[in-house]
């Protein structure tokens, strides 16, 4: 397999998630943003407006396909062929710069729970995930990125930390890491650990993309709702990430209570500033 640096990092700069409420701005102009990411499943149709818009923006920006529905770690079910076939069809059409999914499960028998549920971090789960990731990479004929998820609980059976697990997964399967800084922060509060030493477990060459987003507080829990601006502790953690791992393509995610495009572009500008702070230092 090619080195991570060349095959998993075709993007540069700061991107934003493309959402339907901003379509008009991307059809009538070319807003200043380095690249765009979409949720793959929103473009699984045979035709229609979403695909029309995606085909259009693809001419102006590199696009990253971010899946939320493969539920790779689901043990009770063979990887659903139909879903993977649709992802392959979309990837063939869009020729994305990147394809990514999550370190999670979500299917039990026939039932899809439609959530990104954490898996226990064990050797058994690792072997299972390695096989699944390889299966997807074989179908897509390209390496993918796998993202760390937000968690509200941790399994008693886990024998590895999430990022030790991810480091092994990238090593054994050839996939890259999509490092969600907000998810790490949310988990550090929810599960009470210091997030900074975790950065030392991440090897710079394995990371293909970074996600930044806002979260909400519900009593003692931080809920990863992607519904607000990136908060200060997450910016600080991001700056430390850039210092340790170098400049990495970074995405501003915003999926609930989506504000005007302007606000997303402001957040993107803040991410660029944080990258530059490191250069100035």
């Amino acid at each position: 397999m090619k080195t991570v640096a060349s095959s998993l990092r075709p993007l540069a700069g700061v991107g934003i998630g493309l959402r339907a409420c901003h379509y008009q701005e991307f059809l009538s102009g070319v807003p200043q943003v380095d690249w765009l990411e979409v949720h793959s499943e929103n473009y699984f149709g045979d035709g229609g407006y979403d695909l029309f818009v995606l085909d259009h923006v693809r001419q102006n920006y590199p696009v990253s396909l971010h899946g939320v529905g493969l539920a790779l770690g689901s043990a009770s079910d063979a990887l659903r062929d139909g879903h993977l076939v649709k992802l392959k069809r979309l990837a063939d059409r869009v020729q994305p710069a990147l394809v990514s999914e999550h370190l999670c499960w979500g299917v039990l028998g026939e039932r899809h729970l439609n959530d990104l549920l954490p898996i226990p971090y064990t050797e058994e789960a690792l072997q299972f995930m390695v096989a699944r990731v390889q299966q997807v990479q074989e179908v897509l004929q390209r390496p993918i990125l796998i993202e760390n998820v937000s968690a509200y609980l941790q399994f008693r059976s886990s024998t590895l930390s999430e990022f030790e697990f991810l480091a092994e997964l990238t090593k054994r399967s050839g996939c890259g890491l999509l490092f969600d800084v907000n998810n790490l922060y949310v988990n550090s509060i929810n599960l009470a650990f210091d997030p900074y030493p975790v950065l030392n477990v991440i090897s710079p060459g394995q990371v293909g993309e970074i996600h930044l987003a806002g979260h909400a507080r519900m009593l003692d829990v931080l809920v990863d709702d992607h519904g607000s601006r990136v908060c200060d502790p997450v910016w600080d953690l991001y700056e430390a990430t850039c210092a340790r791992l170098g400049d990495l393509p970074t995405l501003i995610e915003w999926d609930a209570d989506i504000p005007p495009l302007e606000v997303l572009l402001q957040e993107a500008a803040l991410a660029r500033e944080r990258m530059q702070i490191r250069h100035a230092a």
């Binding site: 499943e41 929103n42 699984f44 149709g45 045979d46 035709g47 229609g48 407006y49 979403d50 029309f52 899946g67 939320v68 529905g69 493969l70 539920a71 770690g73 689901s74 043990a75 009770s76 659903r80 879903h83 649709k86 499960w105 979500g106 299917v107 039990l108 026939e110 039932r111 899809h112 729970l113 439609n114 959530d115 549920l117 898996i119 226990p120 064990t122 058994e124 789960a125 299972f128 509200y152 609980l153 941790q154 399994f155 008693r156 059976s157 929810n190 519900m218 009593l219 003692d220 829990v221 809920v223």
Partner: protein, 259 residues
């Protein structure tokens, strides 16, 4: 060691299902029973929110009619009876019309199931394949002898339904951009409703009996002669020429073949 992953996931799913976590939860997760219970609540509400948001996207008018809070509760009941089976949430909700038909709290709204059927047709139309309009000059090349055997084809996004209620009008007045009088004429025609999507925007049309019968025959690959017979059985004055021209111009009929 027996595989742990299937057991852990089945246990996790069961805990999300329950309103109160069981003793098993403390064997699966770290933390106190009370903390685990609250954290499972986050998973429960996230899942319901994901399903409810998706279902509301597919059924905006039904959601408006029953109200947001009720709709969220209805989503919970519905997803118990007909769980999501796809990682693509735009597929979730196909059987909601059948569900509302027997869901006691809404059976007093007799038109709700058919309105839901119409909304699902509109929802699916949004994702259907694109198709260019029919180039009418192609029709001129069909020999006169073959014309009665022409098989016209509808746009892939087109769908037809029948109802005893004026669902097209009900749908229309509940659209966010509807500017007319918020009222349904008791004499509003019922019967056939057609959903089409000439380019990207779904359109909903109320159809007279003959037109509905004609288009319905086309969906079953009937020849022009057979479709016309169906239509004229309902209205002897049905004029195919003007209707065909209109449906072609509107992007409803997009192709034909001569067998």
């Amino acid at each position: 060691m027996p595989p742990d992953l299937p057991r852990v996931q089945a246990g996790f799913a069961a805990e999300i299902e329950l309103a109160q976590s069981s003793a098993e939860a403390e064997r699966l997760f770290c933390g106190s029973g009370e903390q685990i219970q609250r954290r499972l609540g986050v998973y429960r509400s996230n899942q319901l929110m994901n399903l409810s948001t998706a279902l509301q996207g597919a059924y905006p008018v039904v959601a408006k009619l029953v109200g947001q809070d009720f709709f969220a509760g209805m989503t919970r009941e519905y997803s118990r009876q007909a769980p999501s089976t796809s990682g693509d949430l735009n597929q979730f909700g196909a059987s909601l019309p059948a569900f509302v038909e027997q869901f006691a709290p809404v059976t007093h709204v007799p038109y709700l199931p058919d309105l839901a059927r119409l909304e699902w047709m509109v929802h699916r139309a949004f994702y259907a394949a694109d198709h260019a309009r029919l180039d009418t000059s192609r029709l001129a090349g069909v020999p006169a002898n073959d014309q009665s055997q022409l098989q016209f084809r509808l746009h892939p996004a087109c769908a037809l339904m029948r109802s005893e209620y004026p669902v097209a009008r009900l749908w229309e007045i509940h659209q966010d951009d509807f500017k007319g009088e918020f009222a349904v004429d008791p004499d509003e025609p019922c019967g056939w409703t057609l959903v089409s999507r000439p380019r990207f925007l779904a359109q909903v049309w109320s159809m007279d009996e003959a037109s509905g019968a004609f288009l319905h025959a086309l969906t079953r690959n009937a020849s022009l002669a057979d479709a016309l017979a169906d239509a004229q059985a309902r209205d002897s004055g049905f004029d195919p020429g003007s209707r065909l021209a209109r449906w072609i111009a509107d992007g409803v009929i997009v192709d034909f073949s001569v067998p």
